[in-house]
């Protein structure tokens, strides 16, 4: 059911772990729903120089965390903010519809971590938009969408 890339990032996840003294941390999800994602960032001169994650969740959640942290490493905060869940899912060569919310968690985790950094530096947080988790016609069944 998972693409080769999803399986690769699940079996050999990149960037697992915590960063000591991170510049930004974002935790999203809920254990009741079966997934929690925690993203740690090191930020130098407005650029993400390191990203790590810890995730409780299914194969897609772990693969999405791995891919998302890969995608934002080296990017400026503005560039990283624009990494959408779709970009994460596409980089993974697709996710099953019901697992699309895992890529959304990754996007939300990055946004939370960046805003955590901004708040720590007395900068106004960027607006975390409440967005669709997927194409409207798809039904992912997750609590956030609640389309099922």
């Amino acid at each position: 059911m998972y693409s080769k890339t999803v399986m690769d990032h699940f079996m050999n996840p990149r960037n697992v772990g915590e960063i000591e003294n991170p510049d930004g941390v974002g935790e999203v999800g809920n254990p009741v729903c079966g997934d929690i994602m925690k993203i740690f960032l090191t930020i130098d001169d407005n650029r993400i120089t390191d990203a790590k994650f810890k995730t409780f969740g299914c194969g897609a959640a772990i693969a999405s965390s791995s891919m998302a942290t890969e995608l934002i490493k080296g990017k400026s905060l503005e560039e990283a903010w624009e990494v959408t869940n779709k970009a994460v899912a596409e980089a993974l060569e697709g996710l099953p519809p019901i697992k699309m919310h895992c890529s959304v968690l990754a996007e939300e985790g990055i946004h939370k971590a960046i805003n955590d950094y901004r708040i720590r530096h007395n900068l106004p947080p960027w607006e975390e938009k409440a967005h669709a988790h997927h194409d409207e016609k798809e039904d992912c069944g997750c609590t956030t969408c609640n389309t099922g």
Binding site: P31, G34, I62
Partner: protein, 391 residues
């Protein structure tokens, strides 16, 4: 992973058809292909084969052959028993009682009947998954026509106090159906000593072919027909018989019943070694289901801080086939309704693992699973943001 072996510990999901059973079936796909309803000689052979399988199934349950009706499996048997009794006795009452931990074949059938105007009570279970006979006593009324409680649960293996539930049911003049899909062929099940009126079984749960099953209907029970058509199964279940499948089910149940206690003891010993091995080597676990009133092959354990689907994927990469109560594998939001009914918090239910053993499993496989599971759980816990990582 070079020396990857396949360790199948998901026998509650399905089983392989034994070569001996395949051999028994093959002639009925080819040489003896006749329609049992026809009158020429190859059809008579087919008819005799069906009758002989019926005798074997009846013998396994302590029933009479004419109380056994072949179906397409557990789901059809459950549907037939519940809808058939509900509609045939509707003038007498519109109330059905079942439990919260039934298989969806029972639960969804009951929910359908609610939409048709029937009233359904879903009995709760205790932390071990046991239905309390006292709860049944309090719920049953003069309008109750059917009580349906499973013989043993498919997820946590808990064996229900069927005999007690039956006697309460009969005191109130209702019929008792049991979904015995997980029990038949694994532990001795007797329709007489328990007194059940209807019992569902499924062939592929005891090494028979998929798409086969039977419903036991005690003589004299008022039940409607659900599949209308030809006069097969003594006018109760239409449709040309699944000849080879029925032959396979007969052979499978015969083999399953041979030495059932001894096989059960061997399976139980392996299962218990798995449980104590896991509990001894992995902290933060919880055994789901009853410590002793459970199917010999069933083990269901929750691992804190990790999620079931990722556990299954990693176990699969080591060649181990298992199952979980996590939502993430079911295509739904909620984790297992069975685990939730036992009072397990959702996050713990997400981290549950079910291993179901059969006599073909070996002590070496138990060792391999113990070793691999500790690795898999350790690896996922290292990745998890939850808990203190006491792996």
């Amino acid at each position: 992973m070079e020396d990857r072996q396949l360790v199948y510990m998901d026998h509650a999901a399905t089983t392989a058809v034994d070569p001996e059973i395949v051999q028994a079936m093959v002639p009925y796909l080819h040489n003896h292909f006749g329609n049992p309803s026809s009158i020429y000689s190859i059809a008579r052979e087919a008819k005799e084969a069906v009758d002989s399988a019926r005798v074997k199934v009846a013998a396994a349950l302590g029933a009479k052959p004419d109380e056994i009706f072949f179906t397409s499996g557990g789901t059809e048997s459950d549907n037939w028993a519940i809808k058939g009794v509900a509609y045939a006795n509707r003038k007498r009452g519109d109330h059905i009682i079942t439990s919260k931990i039934e298989h969806h074949a029972v639960l969804h059938t009951c929910q359908y009947l609610e939409k048709q105007g029937f009233r359904v009570t879903y009995l709760p279970v205790d932390q071990y998954g046991l239905v309390d006979p006292g709860e049944l006593e309090r719920s049953i009324t003069d309008t109750t026509t059917l009580v349906s409680v499973m013989y043993a649960n498919n997820e946590i293996g808990t064996i229900e106090p069927v005999k007690e539930l039956v006697s309460i049911t009969h005191e109130h003049g209702a019929y008792f159906h049991t979904d015995a899909v997980q029990a038949v062929g694994h532990i001795p099940v007797s329709v007489d000593s328990t007194g059940v009126d209807l019992l569902s079984l499924s062939g592929h749960k005891f090494n028979g072919p998929k798409g086969t099953g039977a419903l036991y209907i005690r003589k004299g029970i008022r039940i409607d027909t659900i599949l209308h058509g030809g006069g097969q199964e003594r006018n109760r279940r239409a449709g040309t018989e699944n000849l080879a499948g029925i032959v396979g089910t007969g052979k499978a149940i015969e083999l399953a019943m041979t030495g059932i206690e001894e096989k059960g003891a061997r399976i139980r010993a392996m299962r218990d070694r798995l449980i104590s091995g896991i509990q001894g080597s992995i902290p933060h676990t919880r055994l789901n289901g009853h410590p002793s009133l459970r199917l010999p092959g069933n083990l269901n354990i929750s691992f804190d801080f990790i999620e079931g689907e990722s556990m299954l994927l990693l176990l699969d990469s080591f060649g181990i086939c298992a199952s979980t109560g996590s939502a993430c594998t079911s295509g739904s939001l909620e984790p297992s309704h069975v685990l939730l009914a036992t009072g397990l918090p959702a996050e713990t239910a997400h981290g549950s693992l079910r291993l179901t053993l059969d006599v073909e499993n070996t002590d070496e496989e138990v060792d391999y699973v113990l070793l691999t599971l500790a690795k898999v759980v350790g690896r996922l816990r290292e990745m998890s943001p939850l808990g203190k990582q006491a792996t």
